[in-house]
């Protein structure tokens, strides 16, 4: 939204000492986001009036021409130009003198274009910042001297404030200069000039018939027929304001409706009466597939949700968005039908987004305008028409079909409420003064103030006392409200034990175990999931994925970590990565959809996943397995890995997989990726994966540590090495040996070896066996006795060949 500073000053008498920048700064702090303030003449220092002396075709390009242009210099300049606008000898147009930089950082240099020198450029309005889009050019009168700066010739003395449209989304009143003027006046303690509005006698010649069928999408339609119209360009002052806001001047009638749109933020439309059959307006829902060619020349295929303005037989206007081409104002138009209707904001927005179209009218309607602006807008248009086209007069009654719902436009506010909400004292007088400065009317009812909205403000924006508090606060100035710390009781907050666990784990894994944390998307690609050999059936799917290749929600963390390995495998010899995050499981029940709803969201547990891969790591299973054990040791928790006896998934290495038990509870799984799958995924090294459900783990972590008195008597350590079948497990041996005698206090594996010399399917294990008594110092004989028993056990139970 562009705001002209000159236009604002038409309503608010600001002294010269207050600059456009000053106004922008105050608006920024109290009203809207002003993105920039630009002087109209900025970057136009080298643009002058030039007269075309001669035109030739470009010898090397069909679509280009050469002109000799008198720009007030000793010699004319040669300028190459195209076909955007037809040029003739004698025309005086804006010429950019190379070298220079035009608005929008467009660099103009003396260069050869297809072999011909060009010493500047003939400028369209768009190129000198006078038009947002479209094609038009300024032609100067013969009297204007060649070489005159365009800033002077066009009297470009305005400053343009560019306001971020998003910051206006709840303030339809600020989509017009008049509404903005009220803000400026309130901020600078000034008065706003009254709008010039005259009353007009209704005419009798024409009987305008209006019928609203689509009452849902159109709640009011004010129509009036104006005769005595003579189409001409609008006066220069009006054109200047329109141009300042980037709107192209077209003719007096259209310019007046556009002017009022930019003044009051109130869109309207004018039809050529000749094109409206039977002087009849019908507002109805479109028929699915119905077509209307809008003013921009585009034929639009309509949906049955869209609202149409029609005459007795055909659609003439896409209601509230854009008029139809079939009824536009033409040079010979003498009578117009004016439309000021109130359309349903939500429907306007839906229709615009269906066509990917944003029009000046539509963006205002979609904000829910004050319904009262319709009448005011019509009066303002009629006043301006009379002023600009003296012969114009009403030739029908003003027909006003009004189904607008009654709005609550008054709010009770106790003056203390402001203090209660904002934490700063403001007396009643100050509250009243600020509200009145914004156009609110205030009636003091002793206990409360009865505050009524000015008719240009929308109840969508202001409907409760809190809304008035905001009005007062922002004009009072947020900077004037002190920053104070609230005072609370000292009770400590309830601890989030899952967050605490996550955090401890992250720190231990990264700082102690050398694992780096990754954050992955919650979305996964079916293509990758399928390459792993997983099904996408259980996965929750997005209805509108942004990345077409990642439409599913993750069910586990590890597939994405495999992707991390794939992208990083050339970056490091060993990759150790982990992630803690939520997964989405529709087959399990999660939290409630609403407080009293029976519907449950999918369960979203927090998982921990570790992966390890590296070309020198033969058994990454042990890498991730040990990292987790060491992690759990911090919590004093016992970890066991038990091979899963059930049929494993194809992507799992069946010989290297286990379920993970912590303090006796199954909480996850650990495995190596099947080497076949690994190859399919293009992974160069074996991958160890461990995945734990932290929501399952949390309840079994007691985190209890207890002191054990230091032993009084020394330990005796005996080493033993033996050869057994390779499938006999360490866990079985530990279990068997620790049971033999209470003197055995520890059985610790320190070497594993397998080689051809041992024979097939054999392995050699070596253990430290620690003997200790709590009652006395052990004698060698006592240890020998138990150790012999231990050897016997090994030989008998595991057919071990003890090495001597």
């Amino acid at each position: 939204m562009l705001i002209s500073f000159n236009w604002l000053k038409k309503y608010v008498d600001l002294p010269d000492s207050i600059t456009a920048e000053d106004v922008a700064d105050r608006l920024k702090l109290s009203t809207v986001e002003v993105e920039s303030v630009v002087f109209q003449g900025a970057h136009l220092e080298q643009v002058v009036v030039g007269e075309i002396l001669e035109i030739k075709n470009h010898p090397n390009a069909d679509k280009l021409h050469l002109a000799q242009v008198d720009v007030g210099e000793k010699k004319p300049r040669q300028i190459v130009f195209g076909q955007m606008v037809k040029m003739e000898v004698g025309f005086k147009v804006p010429v950019a003198l190379a070298p220079t930089v035009l608005p929008g950082n467009k660099v103009i240099e003396k260069v050869e274009m297809r072999g011909e020198l060009t010493e500047g450029m003939l400028c369209l309005d768009q190129e000198i910042g006078l038009l947002k889009d479209g094609v038009s050019i300024q032609f100067f009168d013969k009297k204007v001297k060649n070489g005159t700066s365009v800033v002077e010739a066009l009297k470009l003395n305005d400053y343009i404030l560019e306001v971020d449209n998003k910051s206006l989304s709840n303030r339809p009143d600020l989509w017009g200069h008049y509404g903005m003027a009220w803000e400026v006046a309130a901020l600078f303690n000034k008065k706003v000039a009254d709008l010039d509005i005259k009353e007009f006698k209704p005419g009798k010649d024409v009987k305008l018939k209006i019928k609203i069928e689509d009452t849902e999408n159109c709640t009011r339609y004010i129509g009036a027929v104006v005769g005595g119209i003579k189409i001409e360009p609008s006066p220069k002052w009006m054109q200047d304001y329109l141009k300042a806001c980037g709107v192209k001047a077209i003719n007096n009638v259209v310019d007046i409706t556009n002017f009022v749109n930019l003044e009051l933020g109130r869109p309207s439309h004018a039809f050529d009466r000749r094109d409206i059959k039977d002087d009849t307006i019908i507002v109805r829902r479109a028929v699915e597939g119905e077509r209307l060619t809008t003013l921009d020349g585009i034929e639009r295929v309509l949906k049955d949700t869209m609202c149409l303005v029609c005459d007795a037989e055909k659609p003439v206007d896409l209601g509230g968005i854009m008029g139809g081409e079939n009824s536009e104002i033409k040079p010979d138009t003498t009578e117009v039908i004016l439309e000021l209707a109130n359309f349903n904001a939500a429907n306007i927005r839906k229709t615009m987004s269906a066509f990917d179209l944003r029009t000046d009218a539509g963006v205002r309607f979609e904000k829910t305008l004050s319904p009262h602006l319709a009448e005011l807008g019509l009066k303002r248009i009629l006043t301006l028409m009379k002023e600009i086209i003296p012969t114009a007069h009403l030739i029908s009654k003003v027909v006003n079909i009004n189904n607008d719902k009654a709005e609550k436009r008054s709010i009770e506010l106790s003056p203390e409420y402001f203090t209660k909400k904002m934490g700063v004292e403001l007396d009643k007088k100050q509250v009243v003064k600020i509200l009145q400065s914004l156009g609110f009317s205030v009636v003091d009812k002793k206990a409360n103030l009865l505050v009524s909205l000015p008719l240009w403000r929308s109840v969508k924006d202001i409907s409760i006392p809190e809304d008035l508090v905001e009005e007062i606060a922002r004009i009072y100035g947020y900077a004037n409200i002190p920053a104070e710390m609230p005072v609370f009781p000292t009770n400590p907050p309830e601890l989030n034990i899952l967050r605490k666990l996550e955090r401890q784990m992250k720190e231990i894994l990264s700082l102690e175990n050398g694992y780096s944390e990754v954050y992955n998307y919650s979305f996964v690609a079916p293509e990758f999931i399928k390459r792993i050999g997983l099904s996408t059936e259980e996965l929750i799917e997005l209805d509108n994925p942004i990345a077409k290749d990642r439409p599913y929600l993750r069910h586990n963390l590890w597939p994405s970590l495999l992707e991390n390995i794939e992208t990083n495998q050339r970056q490091a010899e060993v990759l150790r990565l982990f992630e803690i995050g939520k997964v989405f499981r529709i087959e399990q029940a999660g939290m409630r959809v609403g407080e009293n709803s029976d519907e449950l969201l999918p369960r979203q547990d927090t998982l921990l996943c570790l992966v390890c891969a590296g070309k020198n790591i033969a058994v990454p299973f042990f890498e991730v397995g040990e990292a987790f054990k060491s992690l759990m040791a911090h919590f004093n928790a016992e970890v066991e890995y038990k091979p899963n006896e059930k049929v494993a998934d194809a992507f799992v290495h069946v010989g290297r997989q286990a379920l993970v038990f912590v303090n006796g509870k199954e909480v996850g799984a650990v495995a190596e990726l099947n080497p076949m799958t690994q190859k399919n995924l293009g992974l160069e090294a074996r991958v160890g994966i461990l995945e734990i459900n932290l929501d399952e783990l949390l309840p079994v972590l007691t985190n209890e540590k207890k002191y054990v008195p230091l032993p009084q008597y020394p330990v005796v350590v005996r080493d033993i090495a033996f050869v057994v079948d390779r499938k006999i497990t360490h866990a079985e041996i530990v279990q068997a040996l620790t049971k033999i005698d209470p003197l055995i206090v520890s059985v610790e594996l320190f070497d594993v070896y397998s080689g051809k010399n041992l024979g097939e399917n054999k392995k050699s294990l070596a253990y430290h066996i620690t003997y200790q008594s709590l009652e006395k110092t052990l004698e060698s004989g006592e240890v020998d006795k138990v150790h012999t028993k231990l050897i016997a056990k090994l030989e008998k139970e595991f057919q071990a060949e003890v090495r001597k």
């Binding site: 986001e33 920053a483 104070e484 000292t490 907050p493 989030n496 970056q571 060993v574 150790r576």
Partner: protein
């Protein structure tokens, strides 16, 4: 005096050259440095009798000579000791610039985790609960309870991810659903923050991501005011960007607060002078907030006539990028170890 010092120095050097064992070295030390009668000590003592410029000048000179002699003495001592230990220093010389091998790689926390932990600690110290909620949320908690009507643009398919087959499920577009869940669970008074992952249906480029992190907070009690919100925001700004950071609040519309504000802090890089990061404005927009809308309190089961409060938020992802000067948002979820290793 100058010549006296010079002479002393020459004698010391001569003496040092003649020293062949520790015993002799000790004798030399006694002769020159002895506190009572050392030759150098004597010279230093004489300095006291000088005055003005002369004292200053010769004092400086004497100290320089003293330093030189001590250095020579120390070197000689070390030399003699090395000989005594059979040349250990030389035999066991190591290249101290060499790293220990094999290299032990440390792990790295994700930068978001680092900043999030820091902020969680700050808020915990002020008595805030740290909460977390579902990432796949209902429309009810994401929009309805937050005073965001069905016609609001945020509810469009192009802004929010919806779930196929469940038209009332969304990927939460903000952490705000937890405002209402927390009010329903804990009631008032309430003091909490929610750090978490959020999702918007937005094309990805260097500055936009469909997945990002927010940290949102809420305070509800009987007499919680806008001034208190400003106080908390100031405390956070001081913590994040250093004491003396200024904040300024400007109006901004969010359906779940009234009044709503956007909060800016003075740019921590240029200290408000204007630079590339703050686009020459001197300010960084980092925290939106506002007084909780009565409709939101009602949805949370809290009587807006008895209680009031505020909510505020940060783009955690944005803070991480500002703090570390990260120029491409996609790195955060790109999993590139070359990036992760930097933190």
């Amino acid at each position: 005096m100058k010549t006296q010092l010079e002479k002393l120095k020459q004698e010391f050097i001569k003496g040092l050259e003649e020293v062949k064992d520790t015993l002799k070295l000790e004798e030399l030390e006694q002769r020159f440095f002895s506190r009572r009668s050392g030759e150098l000590t004597e010279v230093m003592k004489n300095l006291k009798e000088l005055s003005g410029e002369a004292k200053k000048e010769f004092g400086k000179l004497a100290n320089e000579v003293k330093g030189e002699l001590e250095e020579m003495y120390g070197k000689k001592k070390q030399e003699l000791e090395n000989v005594k230990s059979g040349g250990l220093a030389d035999k066991e010389w190591i290249d101290v610039t060499e790293p220990k091998l094999p290299k032990v790689e440390r792990g790295h926390l994700h930068p978001n985790t680092i900043i999030q932990n820091d902020l969680e600690d700050l808020f915990a110290s002020m008595g805030f609960m740290v909460l977390d909620g579902p990432e796949l949320e209902s429309e009810y908690y994401s929009f309805d309870t937050l005073n965001i009507p069905a016609t609001h643009p945020a509810r469009d398919m192009q802004d929010t991810f919806y779930i196929k087959g469940h038209s009332n499920w969304v990927m939460r577009p903000h952490t705000s659903p937890m405002q209402v869940r927390a009010m329903q669970k804990y009631g008032a008074p309430l003091r909490m923050i929610v750090p978490g992952k959020c999702f918007r249906n937005e094309s990805t480029d260097a500055r936009h991501e469909h997945t990002f992190y927010q940290l949102e907070g809420m305070v509800i009690d009987k007499e919680i005011t806008f001034a208190h919100m400003k106080g908390i925001m100031q405390a956070v700004a001081d913590h994040l960007f250093g004491k003396g950071t200024e904040i300024r609040l400007m109006p901004k519309y969010y359906p779940f607060v009234e009044p709503g504000v956007r909060g800016e802090v003075t740019c921590f890089l240029c200290k408000g002078k204007g630079c590339r990061v703050c686009k020459n404005s001197g300010w960084l927009e980092v925290m939106p907030g506002g007084m909780t809308h009565p409709n939101v309190l009602k949805a949370g089961g809290i009587d807006p006539n008895k209680y009031q409060g505020f909510a505020f938020g940060f783009g955690l992802t944005r803070l991480v990028m500002l703090k570390y000067g990260i120029d491409d948002i996609r790195h955060l979820e790109g999993g590139d170890v070359r990036f992760l290793k930097q933190f």
